[in-house]
Symmetry: C3
Subunit: 261 residues, 3 copies
């Protein structure tokens, strides 16, 4: 976490129009710098200038789809790490097809999705309800399986989160149920995973860094709930941004609940 | 209200880009599940998977206009209820024409608008100031007249709200003036009317269900004002989401101010 | 300020999709009426109906670019004041070229940007990090130089703000560092400068009115920080809207820190 604040990484987000503001504020809160553009004429230049690229398919248009392809290629050429958040893959046949196309074309360093999305991405049974989704598999089994199939780091978020690179798999039990009652908390997490990954030391594993991101994000939710539980989810949203802004490694020391499985 | 929470209806929103986040959070708060896409290749599939479709014309583009036509047709074919929020109809000649075209092509179960918008939609004198609008008619007269002309349920919102299906007309005196100082509170209400309508029992009238939605929404505004009046409209917005999240039929029993006229 | 509340000016915003909601709420808070559309078929009519036009290039698409050209021409023809917020000019070569094209085609009454953006706009050395930017020049020097080159009123915002029309230059030392930790506070300021300018008396100078806007905006940030400092930047954002809603000339009397240089 402290490394993100020190590096102040520029994260180029091509994301859905429901969460642009919340994502940008969340990135600012953890010390990253957001930039958002899908313009075909500048997206390649931006993706190579930026420290990280986030591709989130929540409200994919044909124009944005093409922007992701251009930006993804540019990021790959310049070794800019790419995080894919395959929002609502599995909810329509179009989206399943297009998200897989993006994944096939762009080398991705990490994926963040709920159980249903990750299951749909690897062609398994998924239960999608719009952008919400579940899988019958245990998150750690699903994360490991998906990491092996997709050959990248996979973060499965839900009641309990799991992160795997196919070899090592971690379970994270931080977080709070109210996260699922604020729109964009999953999407913001994808952006923050990107901020963590691009700020890590060379000798650190992506799987471990992504796990740290999820655990500290969950801690911020716990902190926010403690301040807002007598009010409600509007107040929770505000204090969640407060908590992200106050996150640091000292504060989270000893409070994260992570186990390797 | 409690029925919305039990059903957790999926509301497909094609709405304006100023209020996407607020609308999604408000739908989550009342127990509905929002999904937002205007992509022509998936919009028909989404509209038929969803429990309800909301068409809001606040920032209509040609692409979004076509998406509304495709989604509206698909919803009609699959008996998915459609709510139309004709934002700023009457503010420009283009918008007046296009919104009427949408209304002519898509069978609509309910319409939500301010006095100026509803008046403009039926070709009467309207006083528009951007997205804000007034009519010289009493809201109950306007709602009844518009319901008869448009042959659907019409919700006119303003200082006092009115809902009519042409036969029965209700006046709702819940709410608070600060609602008009937070952007998107009208748009969110359109989405919540959709969530209520698709969660009603078969033997209930749409006009009565829409009236309940407006009364309980107004109550949430009263609750939010009580918590925020010493602070201001930023705090009001946050506590309004809190209050929507806490709404239930027990809480609102005896507090709604509805009369049939 | 009180004039804005009396006039309730309609500000037509063509702005980036990260800040639409925050901009609209901020305009409502100071007593202006926001309207947002980039639809080519109505944008000219809207720009001439409105009291002011804001062009913000934060997430420029080709479609939006063309909308700005149409709206800008219509505004110029009808003497509707135009404010340009050249977000992230200098961050990519495309954006630098296009923003200059907009500036060349549309007569602009005022420009609002950070030091890096204003420097890039006049072809000087700029240090851009996504949408954040700095210049090595003192803000008052940069504002005056840019006002002379661009022949308009220039507002340079940063730790200390400066406003100049080339002849008179003002330094404003109100504000708080947390403004830079909430996304869209610069963009909203551009919109509020527009609201102030279109509400001024004929005998007032634009440079003086824009200076007032910046000083009172900064005061609101100071007020918001006083209420939120023990919580964090999420709470600050909420109280900043509260503070904008409570701004009035009596309240700010004697508290603004402005000097002519």
């Amino acid at each position: 976490m402290d490394r993100v604040r020190r590096k102040n990484p520029l994260i180029h987000c091509i994301t859905n129009d429901v969460v642009t503001n919340f994502t940008a504020n969340g990135l600012l809160a953890v010390g990253a710098a957001p930039v958002m553009t899908a313009n075909h004429e500048e997206v390649a230049e931006m993706a190579q200038t930026a420290d990280g690229l986030l591709l989130n398919t929540g409200t994919l248009t044909p124009y944005q789809h093409e922007a992701m392809r251009i930006a993804g290629r540019a990021a790959n050429e310049h070794q800019t790490p790419v995080v894919l958040d395959p929002v609502a893959v599995g909810a329509t046949s179009y989206r399943t097809r297009v998200v897989r196309e993006i994944f096939d074309e762009v080398k991705v360093d990490a994926i963040r999705g709920n159980g249903g999305e990750i299951a749909a991405l690897i062609g398994m049974q998924a239960d999608m309800h719009g952008v919400e989704g579940k899988s019958d598999m245990l998150p750690e089994t699903l994360a490991k399986e998906a990491a092996n199939v997709l050959e990248t780091v996979v973060c499965v978020t839900g009641e309990v989160d799991a992160v795997s690179d196919g070899e090592r798999t971690f379970l994270i039990k931080n977080g709070h149920a109210w996260l699922s009652r604020v729109v964009g908390t999953g999407c913001l997490l994808g952006a923050i995973v990107s901020a963590y990954i691009v700020s890590k030391e060379n000798n650190e594993d992506t799987v471990r860094t992504a796990t740290d991101a999820l655990a500290q994000y969950g801690l911020a939710a716990e902190d926010a709930f403690a301040c807002s539980k007598t009010y409600g989810i509007g107040t929770f949203q505000q204090h969640f941004l407060d908590a992200l802004g106050l996150l640091n490694d000292d504060h989270s020391y000893g409070k994260t609940n992570v186990q390797e499985v």
